[in-house]
Symmetry: C2
Subunit: 488 residues, 2 copies
């Protein structure tokens, strides 16, 4: 059966739903009478097309068909999922839900994007209330996986399961909310922060930027990977969650909370939290959780370093400070030996089903070494920006030994030959602790004009740097395996 | 001058400070009379040593010298920075600060890790109050960059600047808080969420795990890179921040806020927020901010995919679902031709700075084709589980043409030769739309006993399947480039 979703109401949220369904192979019917609905949705779709597939390491289904319908009836009549994303006015939602239900199948799920209304409120006046539930997503809907799925007591369990399975199929994390409540779960937390933020601004304690920095340079980094409770579980250490709350609890009664209604931390509530935390995180020791947290923090910060954004911008500035503080080994290496062009270690993502580093990551490491060598001779980021670069045209790898998770790696690079348009490199990948040779990579690179798409001479300073290196490397012993071909 | 820091009070926070200073080349004196202080600090240090340097792309300074002191006096007398991290009791803090000030230099900065007390409270009874300020860090202190630097009116501006510059030098983001306030900035926001979370648990709306998931699959991903206000600025779109608050504002008066004191959204407050937001983010258009946000979201989620954690675990499961949805390879192909062992397209993560697929992803695709060929001949996941597999020992790649984002890819695989312990494969990577050959990969694989770590004969059904394929493939034309070696 053809999968068809109907999105009633475009805009940023509706458009995000359109993108999620469409890019997962569903046909999508849109009804939105606003004159700029098509433009808005196409903008969201463009954003989604460039980013959502980047989360997958496998092929996505072929995109579904997008149809802008002239009437709500046309949009919903054949749909298995109908998503309502109209403005947050209950009278308007009632009117639109009524129209949807007079034209849609009784088996269709009707999800509402509402952040404020409870499903029982949406269901008022409906003759088939169990079909309506809250499916509250988060912007950008095409990337952020969370969707709060809130049924009322009138929604049959199998409809909730069906809804959950459809949301899962379009790549979402459907969090089924046990009991309906105003603003569901996440927006209650967000509102709490928003209220506190408004006070800080009003009283001139902090600006919007300072509040944002207090989040993204601090607990925001933790919350991208673990939430509030798992983070505190770690902070509590081996003494456990109940102990931690015992220490932390009194702060709730401190002066700044005097305007707030605070739950009393009875023994019963403390035990409930500790038990739930055990069920949630008890399979990992605190030491394990610390390492998971730290590795994620490093990764999350490094992503932003690559993007030169936020905490990453700061890390780049810090590298600059460190560089001034510490003479870098690579800035003036000993040219009479192969050059150290990579130092790192085997990352968790590089481990394959055999339990050791996957073959393609051997080349990845050598490719980084090639990039570093390019930077070393002056063919750096700015050079590539200027329209010139080196392309690898031929590679020969010999896999000599296996290497496991977290082992240090080092690449030594020898310049085998060069001309104005070529360079011939030989990388030796070692495990530096043991000196064991893990692999060799022989590479031929051509210098290209990126715009013309053909080879051209490298610029003079680069050729002269290559000549200097080669004047030392030509007399080095030729590495074993150089010029090999594969024979059976 | 030798840089010396004194850390009074070990524990998780004190230990984190020790690690930050030490790994940035400072000598560190520790005073903590607790019998397990050395063990605790060494555990924190071990965590820090494996993770903090991973943020840098340059060499870190040589580690400073760590000294556990028998007295507070010995610890602080030569220190330029003294960090107090003792338990949160004001009488205890006063006592320790008094002892510190009777032995330390007048020019030293005394930072307190307190999350609850204002600097003016810490300074009570002090004869040199301007030396004391709050330097409130976040766990893990060695990784999370935020530190709230809170001076009182008694702290001279040049001391605050000096403190900020030292904190910056150890890789921290020092957020100077303009006006002292209970719990500073970040902990006020955290307390607000904590209170709301306690209510949700107490009233059985959600468990600790569900609250954590509502954070880390949702807004936590946004807050690692942008805070509350920048995120909302984007949600508001081109209409701007004031417009957004106008829409969002009424929700503050909704029923769930009735127990809370809410600032009144006067025109003046709205304008103040909008102006601050312009100063903060106005240099980027909304469209730019959307793309920055999306790229960061993808990166932050992919980090966790590599770690198989949180949102990343979900993404891996989703890849599995997509694989089942989209047919990957033909299970009964025509043996008289090279076999189609990969069909996919160029993923965004594979694009390098030259704007086309990175060289290592050519091998990644061929490696997947090799895996698929192994599955096809029966050397599948279960076979590897049973302790046998094929390892690639040699690879020769010829890069023939470039390929750009989203272009479809196809690998055709020819069996060049085989024996009981070997197979020799030749992959041709095409762009199927145009028939253009993008690259070739020649691979020699050995059959290994994973436990013994040496070669052995493949099992009979596998050798017989290889023989069947070879009976067709041996008469195919030998592919161009077979047996090549690299020559300059």
């Amino acid at each position: 059966m053809k999968k068809i979703a109907a999105c009633i109401g475009g805009g940023v949220i509706g458009g995000g739903w359109v993108a999620r369904f469409l890019l997962h192979g569903w046909d999508v019917n849109v009804f939105d009478p606003a004159p700029d609905a098509q433009r808005k949705i196409s903008e969201v779709l463009n954003n989604a097309r460039r980013s959502l597939p980047a989360l997958a390491d496998v092929a996505m289904p072929e995109e579904g068909k997008l149809v802008f319908c002239d009437s709500l009836e046309l949009a919903v009549s054949d749909a298995q999922w109908i998503q309502e994303s109209v403005p947050e006015r209950l009278d308007l939602k009632h009117k639109i839900l009524g129209q949807i239900q007079s034209h849609c199948s009784d088996n269709a799920i009707i999800g509402s994007s509402t952040s404020g209304f409870k499903p029982s409120e949406l269901q008022e006046h409906s003759t088939n209330p169990g079909q309506i539930m809250v499916a509250h997503p988060f912007n950008p809907v095409y990337l952020v996986p969370l969707v709060e799925l809130v049924p009322s007591v009138k929604c049959p369990a199998q409809s909730v399961e069906k809804a959950q399975s459809i949301l899962t199929a379009i790549g979402m994390k459907a969090l089924v909310v046990r009991k309906e409540i105003d603003a569901h779960i996440a927006d209650r937390l967000l509102e709490a922060v928003w209220r506190e933020g408004l006070w800080l601004i009003k009283d001139d304690i902090a600006t919007t930027e300072e509040i944002d920095d207090a989040i993204r340079f601090g607990f925001g980094l933790r919350w991208a990977q673990m939430g509030l409770f798992e983070t505190y579980r770690i902070a509590g250490g081996e003494a456990g969650m109940a102990h931690f709350i015992g220490q932390f609890g009194p702060a709730l009664a401190w002066p700044w909370t005097k305007l707030m209604d605070v739950p009393k931390l009875t023994d019963e509530l403390v035990q409930k939290i500790a038990d739930q935390s055990d069920r949630q995180s008890g399979k990992h020791s605190i030491r394990e959780l610390e390492r998971i947290r730290d590795d994620n923090l490093v990764g999350i910060m490094r992503v932003q370093k690559d993007a030169n954004w936020g905490v990453g911008e700061m890390l780049r500035e810090h590298d600059q400070r460190l560089t001034e503080l510490v003479p870098q080994i690579d800035s003036a290496p000993d040219l009479s030996q192969p050059l150290t062009m990579y130092q790192g270690k085997v990352l968790p993502a590089w481990i394959d089903y055999n339990g050791h580093m996957n073959e393609s990551n051997y080349l990845q490491v050598m490719s980084i070494a090639t990039d570093n060598f390019m930077t070393f001779i002056g063919a750096d980021g700015a050079y590539v920006e200027s329209g010139k670069s080196y392309f690898t045209v031929e590679t020969h790898i010999c896999h000599i030994d296996e290497v496991k998770l977290n082992k240090p790696l080092e690449v030594k690079t020898q310049l085998i030959g060069h001309s104005e348009k070529k360079m011939h490199l030989f990388h030796s990948l070692y495990q530096p602790e043991t000196g064991v040779l893990l692999a060799t990579g022989e590479h031929m690179l051509l210098h290209v004009d990126l715009e013309a798409g053909k080879t051209c001479n490298a610029e003079k300073p680069i050729n002269s740097k290559l000549a200097t290196i080669f004047s030392h490397h030509y007399s080095l012993e030729k590495p074993k395996g150089l010029g090999r071909s594969i024979g059976c």
